[in-house]
């Protein structure tokens, strides 16, 4: 029989106890296995920033041929789901009621001005500012449709671009890592972050706080176990659980949503371990400090869940936030994990992104470990 140091034996025994506790508690199983899949479905199907087929109204006040042709360009493009009307009031009512997100007005003199080489024609684009993101797309797409139509029209009219004069400067844009421009591709790694944060922080915080409430924590502290051993045995089972749900979520994202995976498994495991460690330690610290399930839940929502949704940069662009909030995001572990996960899934193992992120996460873990130890040590006195 191999000689095992008492420390290892104690950790092993506690680990076993913890594991039984998880398996026998339906709510932790629910959080660890059902929640990831549920969240993934919600994110994958429910969240989309891909604004194509935007509903819009095209008001044709121009009776000439070009007005009609331009309106056709709008009805034929996949960017818009356009309704052609001659009544401006009708269109305005539609935008107020939210049935369309944009109005394109082709004014009375449009055809006349198009033909007139001296004049320039005008088109009015009205977007619904109550949906600012869609409004930005309405403007961009409308500009694109009109420009395309105009070049096309010139060609048809025999204005051959031999000298290329009308073509001028064109943008040749290439979207790297996500050429289909699917917002899902960058939202799903964010979803993964959320799952890990929920399991890591919320679950540990609740479970450990419950031990304090029930008084079983005190019995644990009365045993010869060292605080470090206690922390290890508390963290390890949830680490395994977190990795398990990462696996489930990744496989589901690959199979159901066709999420690319361009990096290596090892780099994902590396960054995830670091992030999970930070989340677990944060959960542990929260519950050691609050010792109450209710407060623990509130704190973990405030310190872990909200920052993941708001300050991690997975939906909302960090660069566009006020300066002070940008600095706050540097303290949010999820920020580093979101950047890494998006990179691993969509781009590959880009070490200038992954390595600093892992370092920062490990540093955070170190600080949290120190704080938790100090808290636990006090309790032992």
């Amino acid at each position: 029989m191999p000689i095992v140091s008492p420390g290892v034996r104690r950790v092993r025994a506690l680990f076993h106890k913890e594991f039984l506790q998880i398996i026998r508690d339906p709510s932790s199983i629910l959080i660890a296995f059902v929640l990831p899949v549920f969240l993934l479905f919600l994110f994958g199907y429910g969240l989309s920033l891909d604004a194509d087929h935007i509903k819009c109204a095209v008001v044709v006040e121009d009776t000439g041929v070009y007005g009609r042709k331009l309106a056709q360009a709008f009805t034929h493009t996949a960017y818009f789901d356009a309704t052609v009307t001659y009544d401006r009031n009708f269109a305005e009512l539609e935008i107020v009621e939210g049935r369309v997100r944009g109005i394109i007005v082709i004014p009375v003199d449009f055809s006349r001005r198009i033909v007139d080489s001296e004049a320039s024609a005008r088109v009015q684009v009205i977007s619904d500012g109550s949906e600012p993101n869609t409004a930005a797309f309405v403007e961009g797409y409308a500009a694109g449709v009109i420009e395309n139509w105009y070049t096309q029209n010139q060609l048809e009219n025999g204005v051959i671009l031999l000298d290329g004069k009308n073509e001028g400067i064109t943008l040749r844009s290439r979207y790297w890592f996500n050429s289909e421009l699917l917002s899902r591709n960058f939202l799903l790694p964010g979803c993964l972050t959320m799952i890990l944060a929920i399991i890591g922080t919320l679950l540990t915080a609740l479970v450990v706080a419950r031990e304090w409430e029930r008084g079983t924590m005190e019995s644990l502290l009365a045993t010869p176990i060292h605080p470090v051993e206690l922390i290890i045995s508390k963290i390890l089972p949830y680490f395994v659980l977190g990795m398990g749900s990462l696996l489930i979520a990744t496989v589901a994202a690959r199979l159901i949503f066709d999420l690319p995976f361009r990096g290596s498994v090892w780099s994902l495991v590396m960054v995830t371990s670091a992030f999970l460690l930070v989340s677990l330690l944060m959960g542990l610290l929260i519950s050691t400090t609050s010792r109450n399930q209710f407060v623990a839940a509130q704190l973990s929502i405030l310190l872990a869940f909200l920052p993941v949704t708001m300050l991690s940069g997975f939906v909302f662009e960090i660069k566009s936030m006020p300066w002070i909030l940008q600095q706050v995001t540097r303290l949010v572990p999820a920020r580093y994990y979101v950047a890494s996960a998006q990179t691993i899934f969509l781009a590959g193992d880009i070490w200038p992104v992954l390595l600093p992120a892992t370092m920062v996460l490990l540093l955070m873990a170190g600080i949290l470990l120190f704080l938790t130890l100090r808290k636990s040590a006090k309790r032992l006195d």
């Binding site: 977007s127 943008l171 290439r174 509130q298 566009s320 969509l346």
Partner: protein, 364 residues
């Protein structure tokens, strides 16, 4: 009637006397409103771009200067070699990288076609698409000035209801609904569970109160507190974020009350099902996530697949968001948002009736 009144007063006292409950009444709503209000933005401003200007001529410099002057772009990183352009995108330092070719000025002056290479970070494809649009607009203007003809088709763009497309005008009114929802669900969900844990729920049951009275006594405090929380956010929207309230206050409050009723119904439903506070918290969390994610707050409902759009029909927040944005920004009349109001009433009726039924069965 008297008995219900007493019960309501008792509920308020329970909430008020507990330091923790008092804390969750005020601190999270304010923190969340501030955080969401400032952080939840999909605006594209101050993003970093890289420019590789191989052209030494006038127009190359001019284009770089114009990109730098745009409010959408902040850090302009000038790079000499295309190789570095790639790594600037890879390492997420910039979202957009544009290469101006060597012969740019010459070709532009000669009136020949010229291509600008633009690389964009697809890991943030929403931001990069909007950034690309802004760049295209800058280039269009430059082009028009070079040819001296002006643009053949002049675009006159206007954004109604929110002239500067400020994201806060979209988020903060929505937050009225989100925060009311969170607080109402937590209050109703937890209050019954807490009484169950403490055993006081049985005392209520043996009291002469009928089950209907108990339910009303639990509903009204949550309803009132919910509307009060909503008022807190409305005030912050008006005086802190300076968002103009275009529509009628009466309409706003009528809708807030209906929405609060619908949410109370859902909260009571949760509390009828659960036994402990922890389960109540978990249940609330599991219900809140889809309510928020599928409401149009994060991404528009119309972007969802059709089957999911119909699955959001039960979601009171979805209707409330349309109403609150309508009243705040669009000055809508009751006639315009009548379908949403009716839907709220329907959801409220359904959830309240179901939870009353559940409660009766449990109490019996």
């Amino acid at each position: 009637m008297w008995r219900i009144w007493i019960l309501i007063i008792k509920e308020f006292q329970v909430i008020w006397r507990d330091k923790k409950s008092r804390y969750i009444l005020f601190v999270p709503p304010v923190v969340q409103t501030l955080l969401f209000g400032f952080a939840a933005t999909m605006e594209v401003k101050d993003v970093a771009v890289a420019v590789c200007n191989l052209d030494r001529g006038y127009y190359g410099e001019e284009l770089v200067a114009r990109i730098g002057a745009s409010s959408s772009f902040h850090d302009i990183i000038t790079i000499d070699r295309q190789q570095e352009l790639t790594s600037a995108i890879d390492s997420r330092r910039v979202i957009l990288a544009v290469t101006i070719p060597e012969d740019f000025s010459r070709t532009v002056l000669a009136g020949e076609p010229v291509e600008l290479q633009v690389l964009l970070d697809g890991r943030r494809s929403n931001t990069s698409q909007i950034a690309e649009n802004y760049l295209a607009e800058i280039v269009r203007r430059l082009q028009a000035e070079i040819t001296g003809e002006g643009l053949k088709i002049e675009l006159d763009t206007r954004t109604w209801f929110n002239p500067n497309k400020q994201y806060q005008w979209f988020t903060v009114p929505g937050l009225i609904g989100i925060i009311m929802g969170i607080e109402i669900l937590l209050l109703t969900g937890l209050s019954v569970a807490r009484e169950r844990e403490l055993g006081t729920f049985e005392q209520l049951q043996v009291s002469p109160l009928s089950s209907g009275e108990i339910i009303i006594g639990k509903t009204i405090p949550a309803l009132l507190i919910g509307v009060a929380e909503g008022t807190l956010v409305v005030l912050m929207a008006l005086f802190f974020f300076k968002i103009p309230l275009q529509g009628a206050v009466v309409l706003l409050y009528m809708s807030m009350l209906l929405y609060a009723l619908a949410m109370t119904g859902i909260g009571l439903f949760i509390s009828a099902l659960v036994q402990t506070q922890q389960q109540a918290m978990l249940g609330t969390f599991l219900v809140l996530l889809p309510i928020i994610l599928l409401s149009g707050f994060v991404t528009p409902v119309e972007n969802m697949p059709h089957w999911l759009q119909s699955a959001t029909l039960w979601n009171p927040l979805r209707y409330f968001l349309v109403i609150v944005k309508g009243v705040f920004l669009k000055n809508v009349s009751l006639g315009v948002i009548l379908p949403e109001e009716v839907s709220l009433v329907a959801v409220a009726c359904c959830t309240l009736i179901t939870s009353v039924w559940f409660f009766r069965r449990k109490l019996a």
